[in-house]
């Protein structure tokens, strides 16, 4: 049986996707085109005059030490978010996969954080870490650690990593759980009969079979930490102390709207766009090839 719907008239399908297309055009293509245009223009601060300057903005950008520093910060941040987010989610999924009673409750609780907006997640963790009355800050002080993310750059980085990871864990968890459940039980049993300990079974059978899921999530998490964490940074550290937690997306905003360097900000957006396009291409290439096995 034909599953696809066939339209008699040719304009109806266009009409039906029109709202979606309009949204994509207005909120994605148009700003993207604007950014592209601005990135090759130079504008005075009041937006009255602008002139074409070619790649000058980009040259300026890559000569800027603070931009390169932000790259490093972002790389460090996204590696931390991806590694922590994936490993904690995998651990939780492995445990959830073994739970027999109350599995539904457990899963529901783990999925909740995904419904929380980034800014709210940021504020939530900010409160818990805020010295002197935040709960976690209080515990840490009892343990002898004087928490201060306003002054200590490592504390600040830890704060945004924790908030970002917490928010993304649900998503990773769901995918890992689905991945685990799609591994036939008989494989694990065969390995048990072959004498493999649970630890060894995990690393030689389960983990390799999860690799397509892991790879998919890795890309998704990197994209997330690059682009979706603006709200968290803005709500907690605002890129500080100094520029220590100013990741690329935050810098786009800061340079554009705080420092009023529109051209530089646009150039940065274009660079970010290239990164996201590259990641998406990698994603599709590998998903098509299903990664090994």
């Amino acid at each position: 049986m034909e599953k696809r719907v066939r339209f008699k008239s040719s304009w109806l399908p266009w009409l039906l996707i029109a709202p979606q297309m309009a949204i994509v055009l207005v909120f994605f293509f148009w700003p993207a085109a604007q950014a592209l245009r601005q990135s090759v223009m130079s504008q005075d601060p009041f937006g009255n005059n602008s002139e074409f300057v070619g790649l000058e903005n980009f040259e300026r950008l890559f000569a800027d030490a603070s931009y390169l520093e932000s790259f490093k910060t972002t790389a460090f941040f996204s590696v931390l978010v991806a590694v922590c987010g994936l490993s904690i989610a995998l651990l939780l999924a492995v445990m959830a996969n073994r739970v027999l009673r109350g599995a539904g409750v457990y899963k529901t609780l783990l999925i909740w954080p995904y419904a929380v907006a980034p800014v709210v997640a940021g504020v939530l963790w900010l409160f818990m870490f805020a010295s002197p009355m935040g709960v976690i800050a209080y515990w840490l002080r009892m343990l002898g650690l004087d928490w201060n993310h306003l002054l200590n750059s490592r504390h600040a980085m830890a704060l945004i990593v924790v908030a970002a990871v917490w928010k993304q864990i649900s998503y990773n968890f769901l995918f890992f759980l689905a991945g685990l459940q799609s591994i036939p039980k008989s494989l694990i049993e065969a390995a048990a009969i072959d004498g493999a300990s649970p630890w060894r079974r995990f690393w030689t059978i389960v983990f390799p079979l999860l690799s397509p899921t892991t790879f998919f999530l890795l890309v998704i998490n990197v994209v997330y930490s690059f682009f979706d964490t603006f709200g968290i940074v803005d709500a907690t550290t605002k890129g500080g102390p100094g520029k220590e937690t100013s990741i690329l997306v935050y810098k786009v905003y800061y340079d554009g709207f705080k420092a009023m360097d529109m051209a530089g900000s646009a150039a940065q957006s274009v660079v970010l766009m290239c990164i996201v396009i590259a990641l998406t291409v990698i994603q599709f290439r590998f998903v098509e090839k299903k990664v090994q096995y």
Partner: protein
Amino acid sequence: MASITLNKVFKRYGSGKTANLVIHGVSAQIADGEFVVVVGPSGCGKSTLLRMVAGLEEITGGEISIGNRVVNDLEPSERDIAMVFQNYALYPHMNVFDNMAYGLKIAKVPMDEIKARVDKAAKILEIGAFMQRKPRELSGGQRQRVAMGRAIVRQPQVFLFDEPLSNLDAKLRAHTRLEIQKLHRELGITSLFVTHDQVEAMTLAQRMIVMNAGVMEQFGTPEEVYNRPASTFVATFIGSPPMNLLKNAPEARPGTILGVRPEHLAITSEGWALCVDALETLGAERLVYGRWLHGAGDELVIIRTDEGQPVPELGSTIHVTPRADRLHWFDATTGKRQ
């Protein structure tokens, strides 16, 4: 090598309200080197029994021993067994060699011995040509042999098979059946083989366990099971077409059932009077379905005759005589052989 002893083995899934007793006290002695087939209809608990021997299911009650060791509390890996799964359970990300070598590597067998053992098994099973392929690059029959190879290289005390032939086509199944027989002759390893296919059971088994709803109905050689079925269940489960179970035969005594196989009924000039209800011709043989003339309800009698015999006409009356030495009497209430 080792014997297997099942002593009043019980299995219950779940507990409380959802408790479900699926094995009701099975006792059996399987001798060292014997090939025993467990056969029964779907859902009767064959796999469960096998998996308890393997250590993949907990034993609710009773005792299972392999060799002289009670294995109730041993891990699967400590039981010195190998198992061939219905879906083969080959590791999809490893090639054929690694699949077969996996258990040996874990057992820390030296690499040159692993190679020697895998090569030998590959030769026996004729899978040497695709040692470097992944399971998904193999046909069903080849996968099946790799799964067997993985069991062989371990040189276990006991082989366990859970319907390993059910995913093969009829021709390949017949061929593999012979190969398994040959393999067992060569290696002489105690084997427990689960199937729902009576032909497989009859051809492979040295002795067979016929199960029904978690109960062992009979444990004996294929000849015993065929010639002296212990219950009406066994009588109808083994043999095709199934044995006639007759309550209304002229000889029948109240409270008993007379069993007679279709091939042990002959059309003669005297004897039971039947009205021919239907005919089926199956190549070399013909099945005649008869109904009692003395008005005994809708009990059907199946008679198997050679295709050379004259064809009775539909609706006509025939006379049938059973072979006197091939009558089976069963208790009508318990179904047990009398």
